[in-house]
Amino acid sequence: MARKKARYSTAKEMAAAQREISVAEFFAKNRHLLGFDNANKALLTTVREAVDNALDACEEAGILPELTITIDPVRTKKKDGKQLLLKGANGKARKGFGGASRLTVSVQDNGPGILREQIPKIFGKLLYGSKFHRLRMSRGQQGIGISAAALYAQMTTGQPVLITSRTSARAKPHRYRIGINLAKNAPEDKEVDVPASEQVPQGTRVELEIEGRYQRHGKSVDQYLKQTAVANPHARITFRDPEGEQVVHERVSKALPEPTREIKPHPYGVELGVLIKMMRDSSSRTVKGFLQTDFSRVSARIAKQILKEAGISEGYHPKTIARDQADNLYEAIQETKIMAPPTDCLSPIGEKQLEKGLEKEFDLEFVTSATRPPTVYRGNPFQIEAAVGYGGELPADEPAQVLRFANRVPLLYQGGACAITKAVAATAWRNYKLSQPRGSLPVGPLVIVVHMASVWVPFTSEAKEAVANYDVILQEVRRALQECGRRIGVFINKRKRIADEARKLSFITLYLPHIGIALQEILKLTDKERDQTCRKLERILERTRKSS
């Protein structure tokens, strides 16, 4: 068969080929960008997106979360009609599946439920959600996570997701099967009945059939849920793994996180292009009004001061500001002292709660924590909390365990690339009586927890695995750790002092008699003289100990 030669194209032909690309198509091809690189990680990502949404929903509605997560191997019919365990957790891999097996993931919460008409879009459309446009801390932030999991399920097993939701015990439960139309990035849904046996008083249940692989320990679901329990001591989480083993992380606190408030952007760090766009979109009629209304922390006085510095009349309509003027305005903002952003958009875990969560999961001798005041990167308020646990059963000669959290969500992958890990390594732990190889994590019986709470956590990738290296974030983490470090240092010092004291006291019985023996041998003392000498020595030493 002769190969037909492909030929060159003209500009016109090229133009004819130009087409719009749906975001669903884009992510279907680039699913590794969203954390679905391989069967292990895809399972974790799927569970995580569902759990994050469930916790967010419960907290927004003021409900103490109660979650049940199950992972089951899929049984299906073979050609010959026999029931067959396709690939259990330990089953042999099928050709072409890279060792993965087909699993059903189910996440049930006791949250507020979802209104019937919203269900299809939330699960069947990428880039749809309530969290993207607002400046307010929440676990999910992009409106892409759970629908990406649904997309992954559809691509690997061809199965639509199954959503069951009930807004209250008085309301009717609804159940949908939802697929995604790739070309349109739109849901293809079908409502189905909920059998009475499966009805729950309130909440949402997400079920997906995916290609995945469950491995115990390491960077897997069980570890993720354990760490989630550390950062969410108010949640009760039940997990049943593919082998049927069940773990319950009990609630140790009944305090829900403070609800957070949506805020306006803070002027610091807003880029020039964004500033120009905001002016164009503003409903204010004067640039002064624009500054006051569209930003947080800009009072009339501050607005005046900025505009004076920028050389712009207060009364100008924001839409008429030319780019050169915008440039001046931008610089004037940087040079004006403006109050830090409001903090009620953030809901830190809190020092007490964090310590509780940590002590619940680790056996420790000493725990301390520190919460930094909120600050801002690129216009986004954020807040760092840290806790350090010491001693107990932690290994004394290994690098510290570092638990990273972003908006209460544990980060398991990409530790090396993460600002948090870097800040831990950049902290001078030797100042706090801990050993630390140059440029590395401290070594000792340590568990270090760092939580970044922000209206917008800057991840290094859409898979939400590591926090990007902004200087101000590194600095805040370091300061929080320094605060904890100082207290750890005091604790270690104190322990050492107590041990020293005990050691000193024991010296009397251990070594004094030998001075007596030696003097007796050299000076041929009587036994009485020898014992007298020892008693006197005891008095002398007792005196020095007290005076020192």
Partner: protein, 395 residues
Amino acid sequence: MIAKKRKTARKKTKAKKKKKTAKRKGRVLRDDLVVEQITDVAAEVYETIGALDQPVLILPTRSLSNVSYDKKKGYFEIGKAKVERTLNYNTVKTFAQSLRFMALSKELVEKNDFATKRDAYYQSKNWGDAKFQEQSESDTCMDDIEAMFSVHDVSREELRFYPEDHGGAVAGELVVIDRDPETEEEIEIDCTRFGSGAYTIPSSVEHLRFETRARFVLAIETGGVFQRLNYHKYWRDAKCVIVELGGVPTRATRRFIRRLADSKKIPVYAFTDCDPYAFANIYRTLKVGSGNAAHISRFFSVPQARFLGVTPQDILDHKLMDATHKLQPTDIKRAKDALKNDPFFRANPKWQRAMRQQLKMGVRAEQQAFAKWDLNYIIEKYLPLKLKNVKSFLP
């Protein structure tokens, strides 16, 4: 006086000391003096405790910063800096151990026995909780005691703590007069009468006496050259005593050469490889002692030693360049360190010139490199040539 009461005893002690020094002059037996010294220290400690004061042990600071090199005296000297070990909770363990070692020393002198460092370490195993865990701890404690008593001219060997190893081999025109430890009977050892073998220097040489008509002592670094000179009876023709150093000489070897040279007033010539280790470690230690043991240099150095060779100039004069080896980074570092920090080399411009010359040449040579010309070149050519001009030896 080494021990004293915390504050009050200082003046009284000095007065006492003078009186005792005078008294000692009449004594014959060193052993009695040693026992007296130990007893004095213990008595002072005992009296201080009796007065309910904290007893103190005083010893010279053993660190390079407390070392000076006096060209006239010719050896490293320990300075006046002192450490006061006041008894308190931090020092009580070593305080007890030091006293027990002193008690052991007194017992050894009285029983006319000795203990090596390792023996002493194992003796401590009988001290219950005061025992040493590692020999390094016990060695440090012994070094302290040695330093403490060295101030009063008492050496470690006189305290009856002997080094683990004996000294090097000796042959040549020398009769060593030893005595039987039990009968005190004298034993004459004729070092010309060992054939291809040799006499081994014992680990303590304080009791030896010498008879010799040798014109000099030749201290040789390597066993190979010692063998050759002994086999060919070089010592007979050159009228000398040959001593094998075997690398950095042991205490016994240094003390043996020193006592021999002192008592018979004969010069000592050192014959080593031509490399920074031989200069800065072997020869320097032989002649002036070592920096971290300056408190014992006055016993264990041989200030009358002079350096016969091999010098960097010898490499050129005897055309040995193709039998040399490149200086390694450690050699270069050692030479530079010596030039910069070693008081002995800093005080001797001739040595500085020689070491700079070697650094410039970038090579080192072994004593046996002369074998390139002929196995007996050193006997027939090199040594006779060198000995014609003793004045040219490096100091």
